[in-house]
């Protein structure tokens, strides 16, 4: 149901680098799983509304008020790489 190219495409969308072994394994496993999903087409869902949440609560809103965070340091401490108070990441713009 799913070929290796599709697996590669989905992996790219999911920002996952897969090894060739993983690509092969997922091609088989995901095909089996998608085949299992086919049973859902046995059910007639004409006029059935989708359920997005189990228990409906009316839209919850609040004013978006800024508040100072009490422990800024502990957030910065968690970062893999920092430059002063900025999160640092590898080069984004490709020079080519």
């Amino acid at each position: 149901m799913l070929d290796r190219d599709q697996v590669r495409k989905v992996a790219h969308l999911a920002r996952l680098e897969l090894s060739p072994e993983e690509e092969e394994k997922f091609t088989t496993q995901l095909s089996d799983i998608l085949e299992y999903f086919q049973q859902l087409s046995e059910l007639d869902v004409t006029d059935v509304p989708p359920t997005t949440r189990a228990i409906d609560v009316s839209n919850v809103v609040r004013t978006d008020t800024l508040q100072p965070y009490r422990d800024r340091e502990s957030i910065l401490d968690s970062a893999p790489d920092l430059d002063g108070e900025f999160f640092k990441v590898p080069k984004i713009i490709n020079p080519e």
Binding site: L2, L16, L40, R62
Partner: protein, 500 residues
């Protein structure tokens, strides 16, 4: 093993201090962990400090509540401020949350003493706790078997008496199934009853936090302490939280109990069927009216769930990108490589598989066929339950089709592992309260669980039926023989090893 009330009484009578109770739990944890590996982290120093505070309060003449000084274990996907929270994943192996989850804050306020963070399937994705990146947890009744999952560490810790109560999370059965495998009480409350603030999100429309305990009463006490509206969780329900212990009435006269026929089909272990049928007979003996109930769309639950949950997971787990917290690959020339390699190195196989399923199901051209279809089937499953609850007060079924299986038995075939959650998944899809209680043992001495399901916010009905049954039986009084017998076959997993 003492209940919450017994421990509270010992404290009030000055027979034992909170520090002594905590130290006893820590000693037992130290003695059993080489066999069980329930905990990813034991927080001994912090626990003893919390216990000292309880003792100091009492010494100053203050009254303390039922949970004060009671040791409790927390599943490691719940954020604890200053205490590493890993979700049993490499990608979060160094993550120390800067904030406290609402649930654990409520427990701290109640004086409960956190003794540690428990093992789980990575990001709570699994039914055996085997997808943890760090260690395998053993079932206390037979250490060659899994404790169930995903909250396997919490279930094993309570079953083994490492602590009297624990917290887990349940997205498709992750509290009830391990409770069944470990012979204890485990409850998933109505969706929205307990705040999810600080619970690391897996599938947000399904995730719910709940209690593990060795008795229905302890579960009722613990649920009462953690339930309640929270402005930090917009799906949190604005409802009054009753004292759940008032529903512990050992009588079922006039109660209508429905038996879900579809859960007694093919694939049900004969020992499980026998125990569950006997339990139903027992409910009838206690005065309940037994009805056969059909939920014809129940069996489509797994397929719907394994589209909906991975879809939500693929979105929720997009945040692990190596930028602000967690690990980052050391091997990236540019930003895209940093994302794809960090995630490749940080996630285990099952998490990757679910991200792939979810990404596929939500991708252009497939959305209607998979995600939308699954959400419509979710509606049909909800309707089956709605019709059932027009006729009965509580529904019953086995919690799991089999007792605990051997470690390694299902890890090679993901689909076979997914089928383990057959009985529990529909309850999450409909947002209903569900509980597993011990209802017998297999011929080989493994615990079997009975699942009780209530209508929306009818935890009272579930507690009453569970309590009445528990008072009439003695399954919950049995404990695994851990100090003698089985030697541990478990080994720690090697760092960074990928498994398939």
């Amino acid at each position: 093993m003492a209940s919450i009330r017994e421990l509270h009484q010992q404290l009030i009578n000055n027979e034992r201090s909170a520090v002594e109770i905590t130290q006893a739990a820590l000693d037992r944890i130290q003695a059993l962990e080489p066999k069980l590996h329930s905990f990813l982290q034991v927080t001994a120093d912090q626990a003893l400090q919390q216990a000292q505070q309880v003792d100091a309060k009492r010494a100053a003449g203050e009254d303390v509540g039922l949970l004060a000084g009671i040791p409790i274990a927390i599943k490691d996907n719940i954020c604890t401020r200053g205490v590493r929270t890993t979700c049993a994943s490499r990608i979060l192996e160094n993550f120390v949350p800067p904030y406290e989850a609402t649930v654990t804050q409520k427990l701290i306020d109640a004086g409960a003493v956190m003794v540690g963070k428990t093992n789980l399937d990575e990001f709570a994705m699994g039914g055996s706790t085997e997808t943890s990146a760090f260690q395998l947890t053993a079932n206390p009744w037979d250490t060659s078997r899994v404790p169930g999952g995903s909250s396997g560490g919490s279930a094993a810790a309570v079953a083994a008496g490492e602590c009297p109560i624990a917290i887990g999370s349940d997205t498709g059965g992750s509290i009830r199934q391990p409770a069944s495998f470990c012979g204890i009480v485990g409850m998933k409350p109505t969706y929205g009853l307990v705040s999810r603030y600080g619970l690391v999100a897996f599938a947000s429309s399904l995730d719910q936090i709940g209690p593990f305990a060795r008795s229905v009463e302890d579960a009722a006490i613990l649920l009462g302490a953690i339930a309640g509206h929270d402005p930090m969780d917009s799906t949190s329900l604005k409802v009054e939280i009753p004292d759940y212990t008032q529903f512990l009435i050992p009588d079922l006269k006039g109660k209508k109990v429905g038996v879900i026929q579809e859960t007694f089909g093919e694939g049900l272990d004969p020992d499980v069927e026998k125990s569950v049928r006997q339990a139903i007979q027992q409910l009838e003996d206690l005065g309940a009216e037994i009805h056969d109930i059909s939920c014809p769309r129940f069996r489509y639950g797994i397929a719907a769930y394994y589209i909906i949950a991975p879809s939500e997971a693929s979105a929720n787990l997009a945040r692990y990108d190596g930028v602000k917290y967690g690990i980052r690959t050391e091997d990236a020339e540019n930003l895209m490589e940093m994302y794809t390699r960090t995630r490749a190195q940080g996630f285990g196989s099952e998490v990757k598989r679910r991200i792939m399923i979810g990404t596929y199901a939500l991708s252009a051209g497939y959305y209607d066929a998979y995600y939308l279809q699954a959400q419509k089937v979710r509606t049909l499953i909800k309707q089956d339950f709605e019709q059932a609850f027009n006729q009965v007060d509580v529904l019953v079924s086995p919690t799991a089709p089999t007792p605990a299986f051997k470690a390694g038995d299902k890890s090679a075939d993901p689909l076979s592992m997914y089928l383990v959650d057959l009985m529990t998944i529909p309850v999450n899809l409909a947002g209903l309260p569900g509980m597993s209680i011990p209802c017998g043992f297999s011929e080989t001495g493994l615990p079997i669980g009975l699942q009780l399901i209530g209508n929306v916010l009818r935890e009272d009905q579930v507690f009453q039926a569970a309590y009445a049954y528990e008072q009439a039986t003695d399954w919950h009084t049995r404990s695994p023989q851990l100090d003698t017998g089985n030697e541990p076959p478990k080994q720690q997993k090697k760092a960074g090893k990928q498994r398939g």
